[in-house]
Symmetry: none
Subunit: 199 residues, 4 copies
DNA sequence: TATGAATGAGTTTTCATTCAT
DNA sequence: GATGAATGAAAACTCATTCAT
């Protein structure tokens, strides 16, 4: 569980950026709305209003709606990928490392529901697929690789397939959890099961 | 593998309805476009053009875009749910039954990529969440229940959690497979792994 | 009050036409809807549905929406003008004749609210002004003339102006009565006053 | 006749606002067209064109056609009700007051034909009845009350009925005058008669 | 005569984006 | 940087009317 603390410290630093710059403010507002209404159903007008900024001024920071989205994703990635993947950087060296990483990831997902709702909104949206892939493909590959190495070291034969399956399963669990309206998804039980099965 | 054949026969019958009625034609066109462009980015105009029908006439068949979507999903469900879930109806009685069902499901998904792309497009779209849930929630529950019973009979303790995890994993695999552009996703390997793990 | 009975008999005859021909049926349906929704806001579709007739068939009877309106008005006029103006045909020879006619007119208006709502809907609609005038201008002129003669015989100086004012006043009272939603208009009191003043 | 002058001064001031703000310009254009073509038959497109403004921009000022209408009426009311009812504010204390008020009202109606045509267009339009009533019902009630008090002070028994009749008669006269195409309506004679009768 | 599918122009409304201030 | 008026293209939807059957 030490790992966990290390990661929590990182989180703490990230969260302590109190004063938001204007563009961060716009991004936060956009995230909130894109997440709630979907990207296509959120107008720039609304983003401006939410951010307390004029419509015209939006375009001084982001020169199109697509660019705003791209920046949002990039900004999120910059702030969070370290968090999400820090456990991977030094390799997963034990079952505990594995469990910590997975649990920690879902902890982050839980605390960042806005973002993950948007994530799955975009994942299925052909029109923004490129923007989406540009940011998340490398990230997902890094994850698969991390788990792949873990399984390889454990001497598991189809380490690649197993890692790919695991990442897809995590995706599926997160999707189901995020999309379920009344918090009906039994995340904890499923998570225990997942760890038991994949560790 | 007999099961498989039975199901394939059903599929064959369904596919052999050659002459499409006008509303089916519209639905097919809508599916194609919703799938390619996303629901929000497909205009009724475009659906009409694709179906070779005037915009106004569309509304003689479906009185709104949402209703078109709902009908599309319902139509798909009517034609396919039997296919997808027939393996569940008499219970999964053996590991073979399990494997057949899962493999068969992915076979169907592979051959119905249009639809499944739309499925994951809608899954993340808050604006149509109700329509989506109305059709697919009961379907997914039936699946979870089917697997749950399977695990229960096998004497597995957390049969519910395991079934839920499995269905989420299937979702995740399908999502990844469907969204990957260049068919890069190693579906067969992942599928083998999944069956090995969950059977 | 004998007059009244004579007129009521006429009314009775008119009302006893039980079996409506197809075009009358359409006209009745149109009247009902035009009255409730306004002419512009009633679609031919809706008229067809209300009449239990197909949209296409409507056009076998009336070759346009305007023509349907014109026919409706003409049909009403044919059936009702006799009723409304019968009191005028032999001249108003006494104060009783006057009172009977006016009261009788409002009795008819009360029992024909549908029509009069449409009447005032059309009266202010520039787009159908011609159709409207074509039917009602002569009718109104006949009324003014009738009252004009009445006042002339009574030796009143400005008999024309007085008759015109009376007819306008009747119009105004009927308009207010018809348009008032909750039957708030004190029709009886106003009518008594009108008769006292103009007889 | 002093009263009259006071009121004329007010009118003069109101009319001397030369430079129209953009929303006033739109309202003026809408009034012109609604009046000429009827509310239902005037498209927002046309209003935009008449105002020399883009269709989209219209919606920066009024967020729907109904709202444009409501604003138009409210704007008119704000500018004019004082004018129309100023004679009532201090009570009608003499026959002269009465005559002045009525004549002055028709003077205003004559000079504001656009508006009054729209008024009677809306009066009969069920679809906008609520908007219409919201603005004019209180105004009309104030009028009835004003005349009611006048008759009460004169010791007339059915002062309420008489006032209601008068206001309806004024409505009827105005309606007839406004709707008559070739200025055939003998307004002056009718007005003299009305004043003689109701003063 | 009867049907209702089909049309296409029209309606209200939205929205990303630009631009003068 | 900041504003919000302005634009124009496009969206969903309606409707009088026509026409093949």
């Amino acid at each position: 569980m030490q790992e966990n603390n290390k990661i929590d410290n990182l989180k703490y630093k990230a969260a302590s950026n109190k004063a938001l710059s204007r563009d961060e403010l716009i991004i936060e507002s956009a995230l909130k709305l894109f997440s709630k209404l979907g990207f296509e159903n959120t107008s720039m007008q609304l983003v401006a209003k939410e951010a307390g900024v004029s419509k015209g001024n939006l375009y001084n920071y982001f020169n199109s709606k697509d660019h705003l989205l791209e920046s949002l994703l990039a900004h999120w990635a910059k702030k969070n990928i370290e968090l999400y993947s820090s456990g991977l950087n030094y390799g997963l060296k034990s079952v505990d490392d594995f469990e910590n990483l997975v649990r920690y990831n879902f902890k982050l997902i839980k605390s960042d529901k806005y973002f993950w709702k948007l994530y799955y909104n975009l994942a299925g949206q052909p029109s923004v697929n490129k923007i989406f892939m540009k940011v998340f493909y490398p990230f997902k590959m890094k994850y698969i690789l991390g788990f792949s190495n873990y399984y390889k070291h454990k001497g598991i034969e189809n380490y690649n397939a197993k890692a790919t399956l695991l990442v897809s399963a995590i995706d599926g669990v997160a999707l189901s959890y995020i999309m379920m309206i009344n918090n009906e998804y039994p995340l904890n039980e499923v998570l225990n099961e997942l760890i038991k099965q994949y560790k």
